[in-house]
């Protein structure tokens, strides 16, 4: 069974909650799908059993020994990626979308496509099971496809090792990486915080989630920082029939745990916070069966 943990707004505590869930169990595959800023490997220091190259699309490159500077490619480019710079045609690597049209229309075949091959997917073991994580190279797109690759690998590993649960630590936002992280999962846990930005982002996230047929839960992290806003979030969820998985208080132990490369349930297993997280997990797990 797959549980995706997402948030809309960044920094609400997705990874800390994912790490806590992962260490409450011994039969877990942890998939870090925040491929743009993967962080769980810091806490879990997994073994590198496998490394795979991920091709994040292509970039067009001009061979200046052939290019006649005719500018036809510029006419066709819809990504505003081709310009005359000091009289010479140039393709901006950051704006190129990799569509290949310039290369196809160049009358002199001076443009070739090169693979963006700097992104990686790693998998291995950590202290509570197996782990897969992706690392998107800076500036690269198509993170949704890397997320799919990480999830496929996690499923394969789960099958091979008879592991029952896959925990997906998702990315922030509502774009393609988030959509890829929740497509086809059984449960999604949205971690939010009681700020007006948190509420606003939660509303947009719920709108995305509503397009999928899955069980959605909301967890209000650091709820005591603004109880009034927490009440608003709860009311919002109630009105939409979204289950509140629980509320967690602000606690510096979470930061201390992270600094010590531990999850909060490893760092302070007997704390009220850890117990609350365990009960939230139980609630969701019962629904995962």
């Amino acid at each position: 069974m797959e549980l995706a943990i997402i948030s809309g707004k960044g920094g609400t505590g997705k990874s800390s909650i994912s790490a806590a869930f992962a260490t409450l169990n011994q039969n877990i595959v942890l998939a870090d799908c925040d491929v743009d800023a993967a962080n769980l490997y810091i806490i879990f220091n997994p073994t590198h059993q496998d490394e795979q190259v991920y091709i994040a699309g292509q970039t067009a490159v001009i061979d200046y020994s052939i290019c006649t500077n005719c500018g036809i490619c510029k006419e066709y480019c819809r990504f505003d990626a081709i310009h005359f710079v000091n009289g010479q045609i140039e393709i901006s690597e950051t704006s190129c979308d990799g569509c290949q049209l310039c290369s196809r229309v160049c009358p002199h075949s001076a443009i070739t496509m090169v693979n963006n091959d700097k992104s990686r997917m790693y998998s291995g073991a950590f202290r509570n099971g197996k782990m897969v994580y992706g690392r998107l190279a800076p500036g690269e797109e198509n993170s949704g496809k890397l997320v799919n690759m990480v999830r496929e690998k996690a499923k394969t590993i789960a099958k091979e090792n008879g592991l029952s649960h896959i925990i997906i630590d998702g990315p922030p936002g509502i774009g393609c990486a988030v959509i890829s992280s929740i497509t086809g999962v059984d449960n999604v846990l949205i971690v939010t915080e009681p700020t007006i930005s948190g509420l606003h982002d939660l509303e947009r996230t719920l709108e995305v989630v509503s397009k999928f047929n899955l069980k959605a839960w909301v967890l209000v992290n650091k709820y005591d920082l603004n109880p009034e806003m927490t009440a608003k979030i709860e009311a919002k969820c109630n009105s939409l029939n979204i289950a509140i998985a629980g509320k967690l208080p602000f606690c510096t132990d979470v930061v201390d745990a992270m600094v010590s490369c531990k999850s909060i349930v490893e760092w302070k297993p007997d704390s009220a916070l850890s117990k609350e997280i365990a009960s939230i997990w139980k609630k969701i797990e019962n629904n995962l069966q």
Partner: protein, 301 residues
């Protein structure tokens, strides 16, 4: 703060991006506070909220909506009568957005996957492909005061990439003297599209292992882009000193530290601009801004 700034007599302009690898480190807090500070000092400033997936600046800054622009993308429409099912459009599409089974005469456009590059239109020799516009989102402009403007980029829910909406928003701001770009998190395409337009980047991070890891990645990216940058540590006092150590070891300028303070968190949670009612924070931000403006501002002469 009281005296007019003689060197800011319209002969320079600057774009400053406020960015972070990790989400939730304080980009919006800093962007809105810096905007407020500059506005209070009668600067001509535009803030562009480039976090098109989850834009929040308009929660903190109220203004009069002066324009709304729809951002669209072209997607193909295939005329199945004219189509010969030759498959060339499918071959030209780099995004696997055209699904075709020639023997069964089935052809379908997956609009979600289409990037609007126009390759299929170019490929079709039978005039079977025309194009239509689909909405990707909106750019909303708000007049906040006589000299200050907020531009919000807002991606439509369900769209895959915010990049086009971000680009459009930044382009609309291009004439102003001071432009602040509240960047999307991460270091992938949306981040690059934003910071590539900036003259200077302020990275805001938190003093935790996650914060450090993401900061490192942002710094490496900015180095390859040759962008000048400095770092602000938010929630200083929580976590450990590894971010400070990293900055020292790599001679990266630490612009300021914002201490962890539950009052700040509470004010932020209510949608208040944190610098409001904090003159010492405003003064510090103004000082940082002036340094950046002097060193990295682009002369218009």
């Amino acid at each position: 703060m009281r005296q007019p700034d003689y060197y800011m007599t319209n002969n320079k302009s600057i774009k400053i991006a406020i960015a972070s690898g990790k989400g939730g480190t304080g980009k919006t807090l800093l962007s809105t506070s810096l905007f407020y500070t500059l506005q209070q000092n009668h600067k001509r400033v535009t803030l562009v909220d480039c976090d098109a997936e989850e834009p929040n600046d308009s929660v903190f800054i109220q203004g009069k909506n002066t324009s709304t622009t729809d951002v669209t993308q072209r997607v193909p429409i295939i005329d199945e009568v004219k189509c010969t099912f030759c498959g060339k459009c499918h071959e030209y599409c780099s995004y696997k957005a055209i699904f075709i089974i020639p023997p069964s005469k089935i052809i379908k456009v997956m609009e979600d996957l289409c990037h609007g590059c126009g390759a299929c239109t170019e490929a079709c020799k039978f005039g079977a492909i025309t194009e239509k516009d689909v909405s990707l989102g909106k750019v909303n402009t708000y007049s906040v005061s006589n000299t200050s403007t907020l531009i919000e980029t807002r991606m439509r829910v369900g769209v895959y990439s915010p990049v086009s909406v971000i680009k459009k928003g930044i382009n609309q701001a291009s004439q102003n003297e001071i432009i602040l770009l509240d960047s999307p998190p991460g270091t992938s395409c949306p981040f690059i599209q934003t910071v590539s337009r900036a003259d200077y980047v302020i990275l805001i991070t938190e003093p935790t292992p996650f914060g450090l890891s993401d900061l490192r990645q942002s710094v490496e990216t900015l180095k390859t882009m040759n962008k000048p940058y400095g770092v602000i540590i938010n929630r200083a006092g929580l976590g450990d000193s590894s971010v400070q150590d990293y900055l020292k070891q790599n001679s990266i300028p630490l612009l300021m530290e914002i201490p962890f303070d539950k009052e700040i968190a509470a004010n932020y949670s209510r949608g208040e601009i944190v610098a409001k009612g904090k003159p010492e924070l405003q003064e510090k931000l103004l000082e940082i801004f002036k340094d950046i403006y002097e060193k990295y501002g682009i002369s218009n002469n």
